[in-house]
């Protein structure tokens, strides 16, 4: 079990912390989805978990022991960064050889790890190709293959499918799931809710350096089952809000839509009946759809982020 407790970090010269009192845990054979808007602190959290930057407060433990981030020590946590973190002028094979050596691997062990990483990411046919000449999908696969060389216990993936086609994305998801099944603990950050929804066992939502919600995916989605979204004429909205307050927590989403978190899941039909009886014209309704994006937007608020 990887456990991080109370992680806080402030970049030199920054006015506020990039991360504040963040705790998380991820167990073998579990995938933790890390969600957050730009600037939420996801990449900083990953850097702290790999020892790239030291936390101002807090600690990272593996099986109860603090992780040893000193130079020259084998690492339990590997990171596949958001960028294509390899040498574009070198071939796929040379990149793997370089990073295998950097991980301290040599001889048969190095060869086996490289072959296995190539096999898992299906890059065997691209060994001789310069990394810079690969397509976007192949680059993401190489990025992952390099992280796998360390045979880590915990693998952190920062936006692993950013900028790739749907086929490559599906393949990468399949690889990640197989890694979880093999016993790795994975932490995946992504902007793609569907991806986290399809992959994650647990979800941590981060915003402005703080944890907003951390729970198993199923628990987060259960909230959605009580959510009723109604589309009404703009003129009817004030009357509708007043009426809906009796059935749960109501809030306007825009000029014509209102969201109601029902106190009781079974009262949806009753609400629709009450609206009809009050003479309010219902133009559309959505109920019971379990979408992680709704929870994410509700937690992080829907306002556009223009922060640098």
């Amino acid at each position: 079990m990887l456990r991080a407790t109370g992680l806080t970090y402030t970049y030199p010269g920054a006015a506020r912390p990039a991360l504040e009192d963040v705790s998380l845990q991820v167990a073998p054979q579990r995938l933790l989805g890390l969600l957050g808007p730009n600037g939420a602190g996801k990449s900083t959290l990953m850097a702290l978990l790999t020892g790239l930057i030291p936390p101002a407060t807090g600690a990272v433990h593996w099986r109860g022991e603090p992780l040893d981030f000193r130079a020259g020590r084998p690492r339990r946590v590997a990171l596949a960064p958001q960028q294509d973190a390899f040498y574009p002028m070198l071939s796929v094979a040379d990149n793997l050889a370089c990073f295998a050596a950097a991980a301290g691997l040599s001889g048969a062990v190095s060869r086996q790890r490289r072959e296995r990483a190539l096999e898992l990411t299906r890059l065997q046919d691209w060994c001789g190709r310069r990394a810079g000449q690969l397509s976007g999908g192949l680059k993401r696969r190489l990025n992952l293959a390099i992280a796998l060389l360390q045979a880590p216990a915990v693998l952190l993936l920062d936006e692993p499918t950013a900028g790739v086609d749907p086929q490559s994305r599906a393949f990468l998801r399949q690889v990640l799931r197989s890694l979880v099944d093999e016993g790795l603990a994975l932490v995946v950050s992504s902007h793609l809710m569907g991806e986290i929804e399809a992959l994650a066992d647990d979800v941590l939502i981060l915003d402005r350096g703080r944890v907003l919600r951390s729970a198993p995916l199923a628990e987060l989605l259960a909230d959605q089952q009580r959510r009723l979204t109604l589309d009404l004429a703009a003129a009817d909205l004030p009357a509708a809000l007043a009426l809906l307050a009796a059935h749960g927590q109501a809030r306007p989403l825009d000029a014509t839509r209102v969201e109601l978190l029902l106190a009781d899941h079974s009262r949806a039909a009753q609400v629709l009946g009450a609206l009809d009886a009050a003479g309010l014209v219902l133009r559309g309704a959505e109920f019971g759809r379990t979408r992680l994006e709704s929870t994410f937007m509700a937690l992080t608020d829907e306002a556009l982020r223009d922060e640098a």
Binding site: I53, L79, Q83, F99
Partner: protein, 414 residues
């Protein structure tokens, strides 16, 4: 890919050492592979200094030779007497036959078709034995040197000095013939020249353009690793490869060594190539060759290593402080050109004015050049180049410390 349990075991001292060896070898291989794929970098490191050696040695071939008057000249003998004829004869014996005097000889000079015209006016022979009283007015000149507008000032001075020497010789001869006519036949007109000899003290080889340009452009080329090192380092930081290496447990010491050692090798390869060009290629191009006669190999090796350490250290220090590829592309070459311009690489320091010569001593390239000249030209030993070696090694140590500080204190995420 199942996590490996053995990797978790704490490593012992020998195991850590072995691991460091594996990491270092991998990093060095990566650096050399990356350089081998960088055609621009290779051209800057090997082709550019080689071209400079060839071109500048040929272009500056005459800089180390005494300046000579141009071959194209004409004579006007408006005197026609014995001494004037004798002067014309001696001048032509020394500088080749004069060109026929064109009617438009002033236009010919202006357009550069003639280098100069030597005019002996009526009264030259009559005045050759005249003693002029210091208190009386100087007589009108009877020997005139008309030069083309572009004639180098140094050449004009040398030509005039030679003319004065010849006229002085004729004057002395004429006086001797008046005092002791019987001795005239045995007097050599070049007697004064024969009395004077020059020697370059302790010079084991004759200084020439190749002897200067090979060390100069070798130093320039060796310091170009500053640019090559910087661009890859910044690119590694930009794409996240540096962060990835750090995340794999590669410490700053190994990262720096993994970059420094390959470039020390590159520098030594440059040195071998440039010396070979001076030794064997330049003579094939009709230029004097580089001579390694009397060179102390130990001193040469020490100087090359010290230059390389300074250049690589400087490259690593700048690279660790630079933040973007644009900075690397601009700053590396700029630093090189400034150090070369001020340090006597592009033009020898002895042709610089005094303030520039003082500035030259502040340039690491000047320390490097002086060290190489001491070894290659003056036959200096290891003890004799210490004055230049220590500043170079000091620069290397300070620069490496800055590079290590940069790696330790700058977040790899920047």
């Amino acid at each position: 890919m199942r996590p490996d349990a053995p990797a978790d075991a704490p490593a012992g001292g020998m195991q850590r050492l072995r691991r460091a060896g594996v990491v270092l070898t991998g990093l060095m291989r990566k650096e050399l592979l990356a350089l081998s794929r960088d055609l621009h970098g290779l051209a800057a490191l090997f082709l550019m200094p080689l071209m400079f050696i060839v071109l500048m040695s040929l272009a500056l071939q005459n800089l180390w030779e005494p300046p000579r008057p141009p071959a194209r000249y004409a004579l006007i003998d408006g005197d026609g007497q014995g001494p004037a004829r004798a002067l014309a004869q001696r001048w032509q014996a020394r500088h080749g036959a004069a060109q026929p005097l064109p009617a438009d000889w002033r236009d010919a000079l202006r357009e550069g078709r003639l280098g100069y015209v030597l005019e002996l006016r009526r009264g030259f022979s009559a005045g050759i034995t005249e003693l002029v009283d210091a208190s009386s007015a100087a007589p009108a000149p009877t020997v005139l040197l008309h030069a083309e507008p572009g004639l180098d000032a140094a050449i004009l001075l040398v030509t005039r000095a030679e003319l004065e020497r010849m006229v002085g010789g004729l004057r002395a001869l004429a006086m001797v013939s008046e005092l002791a006519p019987s001795a005239l036949g045995s007097v050599s007109p070049d007697g004064v020249s024969a009395m004077i000899a020059t020697e370059r003290v302790a010079a084991r080889v004759q200084p020439n353009a190749v002897q200067h340009n090979v060390p100069a452009w070798l130093v320039f080329g060796m310091f170009f690793v500053v640019a090559a090192l910087g661009s890859l380092f910044v690119e590694e930081r930009r794409c996240g490869a540096l962060a990835r290496l750090r995340g794999m447990g590669v410490g700053p010491g190994l990262l720096l060594a993994g970059k420094a050692l390959p470039y020390l090798g590159v520098n030594l390869l440059q040195a071998a190539l440039m010396l070979a060009v001076g030794l064997w290629l330049m003579p094939l191009l009709g230029s004097p060759g580089l001579s390694l006669r009397g060179v102390d190999p130990l001193a040469l090796g020490a100087v090359l290593l010290a230059i390389s350490a300074a250049a690589v250290g400087l490259g690593l220090a700048l690279a660790s402080l630079m933040r973007s590829s644009a900075q690397a592309l601009a700053i590396g070459p700029l630093v090189n050109v400034l150090m070369a311009g001020a340090g006597g690489i592009m033009v020898p320091t002895f042709v610089m004015p005094a303030p520039m010569q003082a500035l030259a001593h502040a340039s690491p390239m000047n320390w490097a050049l002086e060290a190489l000249l001491t070894v290659l030209l003056r036959g200096g030993s290891l003890a004799q180049v210490q004055a230049q070696l220590w500043p170079l090694l000091g620069l290397a140590v300070v620069a490496l410390a800055v590079a290590a500080w940069g790696l330790n204190h700058r977040s790899p995420l920047e």
